[in-house]
């Protein structure tokens, strides 16, 4: 671990380009690539020294490897986004394990940061932070409601709606009832602003169309394989 580690200028350029090539720039979050770079830098700080060195050398390889390996003259950071993505796909399917590992490692690191960004999560319909905030407050209500003295012996659950049947107990709706019942208390005690309990999200696409087109692709894939 080295808490003071920083990428070189060239490594930074490469990583910014990698993050644009892999990440969801269509979402339009400002400076997402810089956010991803910072997150990855703080993760790489935790690597042992040799892993860190290997990672940085890997970035140089991505930047200049096309020139050396003969699959493109331009340095990676100068490629347009779709060309850059294509080049990364090529590395992801390389026959050489270290190259595959490097490309996959970058994919994982970029996905972890880019798709974990608050705005990106929201764009894709995952209001994780609001949900989390609401749940933390809900738990506090439950803790206040059922005092530690009343904790049932293990393995019994701590809270059941006794009069309901098993399958109803486990349903999402009864949970929403529970939250709804707790709402006034929540507002009074914890002043949580976002108390949306809806589990409904507008569908951004037509599932029918999506599965239909991908089925066709698969039939084709099967045929290709058979040939």
């Amino acid at each position: 671990m080295n808490p003071n580690f920083q990428f070189s200028m060239l490594n930074r350029r490469t990583l910014l380009a990698v993050s644009r090539a892999i990440g969801p720039i269509e979402v339009g979050v400002e400076a997402l690539d810089i956010y991803v770079l910072e997150q990855i830098e703080s993760q790489v700080r935790q690597f042992p020294r040799l892993h860190r060195l290997g990672f940085c050398l890997g970035l140089y390889f991505i930047e200049l490897g096309g020139f050396i390996g003969g699959w493109g003259l331009l340095p990676f950071s100068l490629l347009k986004r779709d060309r850059a993505t294509k080049r990364l796909y090529r590395l992801l399917h390389s026959r050489l394990t270290p190259i595959r590992l490097l490309a996959n490692g970058l994919r994982v690191l970029v996905c972890l940061s880019a798709y974990g960004h608050t705005e990106v999560e929201r764009w894709f319909g995952f209001e994780r932070r609001a949900w989390r905030k609401q749940r933390i407050a809900t738990r506090q209500v439950l803790m206040d409601k059922i005092s530690p003295q009343k904790i049932t012996p293990v393995p019994e659950p701590l809270y059941t709606l006794n009069d309901q049947k098993q399958h109803e107990l486990l349903s999402w709706e009864s949970h929403q009832e529970l939250v709804r019942a707790a709402l006034p208390t929540l507002i009074e005690k914890h002043q949580t602003p976002d108390l949306s309990i809806s589990n409904e999200i507008e569908s951004p696409f037509n599932v029918e169309d999506f599965t239909a087109t991908t089925s066709e692709t698969h039939v084709k894939l099967d045929q290709d394989k058979a040939e």
């Binding site: 935790q46 994982v108 996905c111 972890l112 999402w172 009864s174």
Partner: protein, 509 residues
């Protein structure tokens, strides 16, 4: 109550800033290295039996409220190597290890399973009579009470668990509700980056307060570098304290040292200390590998809402296959697809409609953990063809579960056949037989690198947990597991650590 526990723990945890002198020398009866499932349990046990105990931990101490919603940020803070840890072999296996007060219990999903009876009977037959089902039962009872292993509250499960349950029920397969170590878990589904509500009863909320109450001490940001041995007897440990600017090395003297750094770090520390040679050290490494499966539904599943693995399908446990739903954040769903850029963005529009689960396969072979030159750790494990066949069967069954629940599409972990669009395509997996090299695996259950044995020639530690080779040196974590157990290991680790803690107190030499 929760708040009191946390402030007590945090008021009493020492940090390197408490050491102002140039060469502080500390001493104690028992020094425990590592505060995870094994270390915290053994430390509390020894302290409750009157020993002067110091527990050291390499990572920081966090309060529940400090676990943030920034997933990638948390991986840097509380996981080894910033979460980028990989086992090499026929196909790389990603794994996670906690590096924080509480170790991997801070990251874990909280499932509480006792060791299966047939496994304990097999260990007993190998001469480890103290591990018989009858003898271990009271230990399991105690552990489950301390860590509050209980069924989930009504409604904390979410749709990700429900589609899995509905599918398995439609198939008529055996389903089991999971006990989890929690008090009022509300299903935020943040278990892997630290429970922000304080519901999950990881060791900083259970065994560590017991240790402190019994007069024990905890020191964070303290990394054991070398075990010191004189005349085949342990005398202390060289410890590196991480300070805001640089570090400081100190020696801590102890009559007994318990290494509980986890199944990877424990053999590495022992090998780097060069204090004994034992052919079993770093061998018999089992990982209980798993592979992710996802499914597309035409109603929102919101896999991030609701607890991880409220259920498990145990219908095929005899074949070594377990299946369980596991909700994950968007950033992990994104990794399920071998896509990038615009294609991935397009695919991810479906994320709220995607359910996720895993297939776990009981290992039929083992790997190795070796400290290599220049500080490089060589961690190796090859998935066997036999296990791969079971992975294929497991993924087929999970696909059956999802299609029975109404899935439109199933995403497999096999790059050769990444998706199944129809139940009839499930057979394709058996026809194509995807290769190990083209499968993505993950593991969280690392075990068995310092195994316990009835004789010196078979393992690294005695039935008491003491090393066969060095007096006063104990191991009490996942690495002492005598063999693979096929289920989630924390309860087994804690029960064995309790047993080792008692043996250590009784052993007066």
């Amino acid at each position: 109550m929760q708040r009191n526990i946390e402030s007590a723990v945090h008021g009493e945890v020492l940090t390197p800033l408490d050491f102002k002198g140039k060469d502080p020398r500390l001493s104690c009866d028992v020094l425990v290295i590592g505060s995870g499932a094994g270390g915290a349990t053994v430390a509390a046990t020894a302290a409750e039996n009157g020993k002067k105990v110091l527990l050291i931990e390499e990572g920081p101490a966090y309060k529940s409220s400090e676990y943030s919603a920034n997933f990638s940020g948390m991986t840097s803070e509380i996981m080894r190597n910033g979460g980028a840890t990989v086992i090499l072999g026929r196909s790389p296996i990603a794994y996670l290890e906690g590096k924080v007060l509480g170790g991997s219990t801070v990251l874990n999903g909280g499932m509480c399973w006792r060791t299966p009876t047939e496994v304990l009977e097999e260990w007993e037959a190998r001469g480890l009579e103290h591990l018989s089902p009858q003898k271990l039962d009271p230990y399991f009872d105690l552990v489950e009470e301390v860590i509050q292993a209980r069924y989930q509250n009504v409604g904390s499960e979410g749709e990700n668990n429900q589609v899995f349950r509905r599918g398995a029920e439609a198939m008529g397969w055996r389903l089991q509700r999971n006990k989890r170590n929690q008090v009022h878990c509300v299903g935020t589904n943040d278990c892997v980056s630290g429970c922000p509500t304080g519901a999950k009863q990881s060791t900083p909320l259970t065994w560590v307060p017991r240790l402190l109450k019994a007069g024990g001490q905890v020191l964070c940001y303290a990394s054991a570098q070398k075990i010191i041995v004189k005349q085949q007897r342990v005398t202390g440990v060289k410890v590196r304290l991480r300070k805001p600017f640089g570090h400081q090395d100190i020696i801590i003297k102890a009559n007994k040292v318990v290494v509980a750094c986890g199944a990877v770090q424990t053999p590495l520390l022992l090998q780097r200390s060069k204090i004994f040679k034992n052919p079993h050290l770093g061998q018999h490494f089992t990982v209980h590998p798993n592979a992710k499966v996802a499914a597309l539904f035409d109603h929102p599943v919101d896999s991030m809402k609701g607890v991880h693995q409220a259920w498990q399908c145990t219908e095929f446990q005899e074949d070594g296959i377990l299946m369980a739903p596991g909700g994950v954040p968007l950033s992990v769903i994104a990794q399920c697809f071998p896509l990038m850029g615009a294609e991935l963005t397009e695919q991810m529009r479906l994320a709220p409609y995607i359910a996720t689960a895993g297939v776990l396969v009981d290992d039929s072979r083992s790997g190795t953990v070796k400290a290599g030159p220049f500080g490089i750790d060589l961690i190796k494990y090859d998935i066997s063809d036999y296990d791969q066949e079971r992975f294929i069967r497991g993924v087929q069954r999970l696909a059956q579960i999802y299609f029975a629940a109404g899935a439109r599409k199933v995403y497999t972990p096999f790059t050769e056949i990444p998706t199944l669009d129809h139940p009839e395509q499930i057979q394709r997996l058996a026809n194509v037989l995807p290769k190990v090299e083209h499968t993505e695996y993950f593991t969280a259950h690392l075990m068995g690198t310092c195994r316990m044995s009835a004789t010196h020639s078979e393992g690294v530690v005695k039935p008491s947990g003491e090393s066969w080779d060095v007096q006063g040196l104990y191991v009490a974590d996942a690495s002492v597991m005598p063999g693979t157990i096929g289920v989630n290991p924390q309860v087994t680790i804690m029960a064995l650590a309790r047993l080792i803690g008692e043996a250590l107190v009784e052993n007066t030499h």
